[in-house]
């Protein structure tokens, strides 16, 4: 995906080119929008719309302004001279969205906006790059080293998310156990870590990046029973050295790269059959 820097379009220029009627002034700090989204279907506005865009719509109801607010848009342009009702205007004033209306129909409005900077329209609207993201879910969690009391919280949350998506229970179990083992490693051997869960209908990625002692010899760490846990950690039942091999057993792909005294990056992948 080419890194398209969202072309910035000045809100005042849009109002002038569309000879738009101003209903609610733009109070947001930036005077610019980073995308244009033309639709009358609110479910798509929320799903595809990117923050910082403007909504072009013929749907004259308070749902439009609420969906735009949910999708973090900067404002709405009602087309074909639609007159927004009081409730829409009040909501926009409160939440800081601008509202224009223009006599043009959707095609004319799109064309005029697309030609303001004389740029090809796809540079202005980078929703295309964003589109694929919405059938993938991502979550980030943070783990603090030595915090035994809340050890296991992240894996419980990962499990809850995978369960509500509706993956096969065995797959959820493997993912939860691997996350739990990785979480234990961080709690015992690292200062802190960031965990990102990315799930789609094809695979589940769990990436753990920690700052800590790192692993000197990864192959050795993969031996069953190898453990550098301290005595009192072992007393608590942690550090039985099951960690990495157990993850390896459960994961479809396990990639570890580690730098001593800086940290380790672990990528665990599960394929969804």
């Amino acid at each position: 995906m080419k890194e398209s820097i969202p072309n910035i379009v000045d809100i005042k220029r849009i109002q002038e080119t569309l000879k738009a009627k101003l209903w609610v002034k733009n109070t947001a700090e930036g005077e610019y929008i980073t995308g244009i989204y033309a639709s009358d279907l609110m479910s798509d506005v929320l799903a595809y719309g990117n923050s910082g865009s403007v909504l072009l719509t013929g749907l004259n109801s308070v749902q439009a302004v609420i969906s735009a607010y949910m999708a973090e848009f900067k404002g709405i342009i009602f087309i074909r001279g639609k007159v927004p009702e009081k409730e829409t205007l009040n909501f926009a004033k409160e939440k800081g969205l601008f509202i224009f209306s223009t006599e043009d129909d959707m095609f004319e409005a799109c064309v005029k906006i697309a030609n303001i900077e004389g740029k090809a329209p796809e540079i202005i609207d980078e929703t295309k790059t964003e589109k694929k993201a919405w059938n993938i879910i991502t979550h980030t969690f943070y783990i603090d080293g030595q915090d035994f009391a809340s050890a296991g919280m992240v894996s419980t949350q990962v499990k809850a998310i995978l369960k509500s998506i509706g993956y096969d229970p065995l797959l959820i179990r493997r993912a939860a156990i691997s996350t739990y083992e990785a979480e234990m490693n961080v709690v015992m051997h690292a200062r802190k870590a960031e965990v990102t869960l990315t799930a789609s209908d094809k695979e589940i990625y769990i990436i753990i990046i920690d700052e800590g002692k790192g692993i000197k010899d990864i192959d050795q760490a993969m031996q069953v029973g190898y453990s550098t846990a301290t005595e009192e950690q072992r007393a608590l039942g942690f550090g039985a050295g099951m960690g990495l091999p157990n993850i390896k057993k459960n994961a479809d792909v396990l990639e570890i790269d580690s730098v001593v005294d800086t940290g380790t990056r672990m990528e665990i992948v599960f394929y969804v059959k």
Partner: protein
């Protein structure tokens, strides 16, 4: 409304958007539909006579009249709730038999629906249906295909008609689109 010898050229005027609301009375479970021009359909239950009406569903729609460009006759269509494209769902339906008769002539059949309860609501006259048909045929290039509009009274049980209504339902819905 006399329509003398003028060879009418219809155009759509006074189009304003609104909602077709379906309501049910939870006392006698009678269903009624009507067109509301309000921007946000009312959702509170209200009492009217011995009925307790509750909105069950709403869909975006548009009201319009037809005016003849030549003789300025104005024909209102407040009795029309929505048009339905007949997809021949039931073999024993009169509209299906009509379609069979004209099959191969690229004539598409639409059914003009009124408001429920159909019985005691104003019915769309055949004359108005003919005007509606002319309007749409004038709007299209009728050389290769044309449309025919019939009244829903041709159908014995209008509620079980499974054609395609031209109506904007679930526009306000937030559920992401599903593969139907």
């Amino acid at each position: 409304m006399q329509t003398q010898k003028c060879k009418h050229q219809w155009e759509m005027v006074n189009t304003n958007p609104g909602f077709i609301l379906t309501e049910a009375c939870h006392k006698c479970s009678q269903v009624s539909t009507y067109f509301s021009r309000e921007d946000n359909p009312p959702f509170e239950e209200y009492r009217d006579g011995e009925h307790f009406w509750n909105v069950m569903a709403s869909a975006q729609s548009v009201r319009f009249d037809l005016k003849c460009k030549l003789c300025n006759t104005l024909v209102t269509f407040d009795e029309l709730s929505s048009l339905l494209l007949c997809t021949g769902c039931k073999k024993d339906c009169d509209v299906y038999r009509l379609m069979e008769k004209y099959s191969g002539k690229r004539i598409w059949f639409y059914v003009a629906f009124g408001f429920k309860p159909y019985a005691d609501k104003l019915m769309l006259s055949d004359e108005k249906i003919k005007i509606l048909e002319d309007y749409y045929n004038q709007r299209r290039d009728s050389t290769n295909s044309s449309i025919k509009i019939v009244s829903f009274e041709m159908i014995d049980d209008p509620d079980s008609c499974a054609g395609e209504f031209i109506i904007d339902s679930s526009m306000l819905l937030l559920a992401p689109p599903e593969k139907k």
